[in-house]
Symmetry: C2
Amino acid sequence: MQITSRFTLAIHTMLCIASFSSSRKVTSNFIAESTNSNPVIIRRLIGQLKEAGLVEVKPGIGGATVAKPLDEINLKDIFNAVEVVNDKMFNFHDNPNCKCPVGKNIHTILDEHLNDIEEAMNNQMRKTNLMMLLEETKPYL
Amino acid sequence: MQITSRFTLAIHTMLCIASFSSSRKVTSNFIAESTNSNPVIIRRLIGQLKEAGLVEVKPGIGGATVAKPLDEINLKDIFNAVEVVNDKMFNFHDNPNCKCPVGKNIHTILDEHLNDIEEAMNNQMRKTNLMMLLEETKPYL
DNA sequence: CCGGTTGTAACGTCAATGGTTACAACCAAA
DNA sequence: TTTGGTTGTAACCATTGACGTTACAACCGG
């Protein structure tokens, strides 16, 4: 099991926009070069980030900017924007046998525990925001 | 992003073995029926659980049993056994541009935070063991 | 009007998952 | 010793999703 590279790619993208949008026009091409990716990939990604209200894009002229204060954008926001978690993160096998006492109740019993796991992950994600990451980048600039 | 159904399938399998192995022979066929899956899928799964030291299987005669006290097997143990997490859970995009200050340091900066997220998830998984799950099943038996 | 950019559709490739059939190896019981 | 039920695996196949690429209409400032 692996979580898509789209997540780290999106964080990287947000950091690029946050770092450079004040001094230059940040285009999908520019970000694609920094991330060693493809302009179209980045545009699709930015499309998702835009829809989540995290960035703003100028069509035509080009260039993206961050749409919120950096300390109000955390990793969970980015995760939500770009990773499609279809309802729940944990997948269930379909139609367990109702005649088996375990199969009959597995869903009821596990759901709570799986939610707890998901929630633990979410809480930890919320603890890191873009402001913090940018601060950590500064020593290297 | 979804975590494979193999995880919940493995938990279901472990619960079946724990519940029934004292009263009947628990074969891959039996579990496949309870989980609405396929005997071969179950055998491969049990192979992984066996390798992790969680179950024992009698070849030839057939039937699986739990290899450890139930309160010493937690969800993280099962997760480790069946979900192949290739090094880290979070995938990085390859070769970010070294000439970009963000691209150059993204890995260093993010790694710690991503590890924290993974660890939060792992810790929560360790809090639930098979004994607890089995207790929760009992009211329904 | 032109050049650079975004948004998106339409493909292609690749890997992983889940499923299935088939069969050798194994072992207990008849 | 044979038989029957079982495990362990190999060999496929179908489906899905991620990622990449080309192509092109729509957009907008100079």
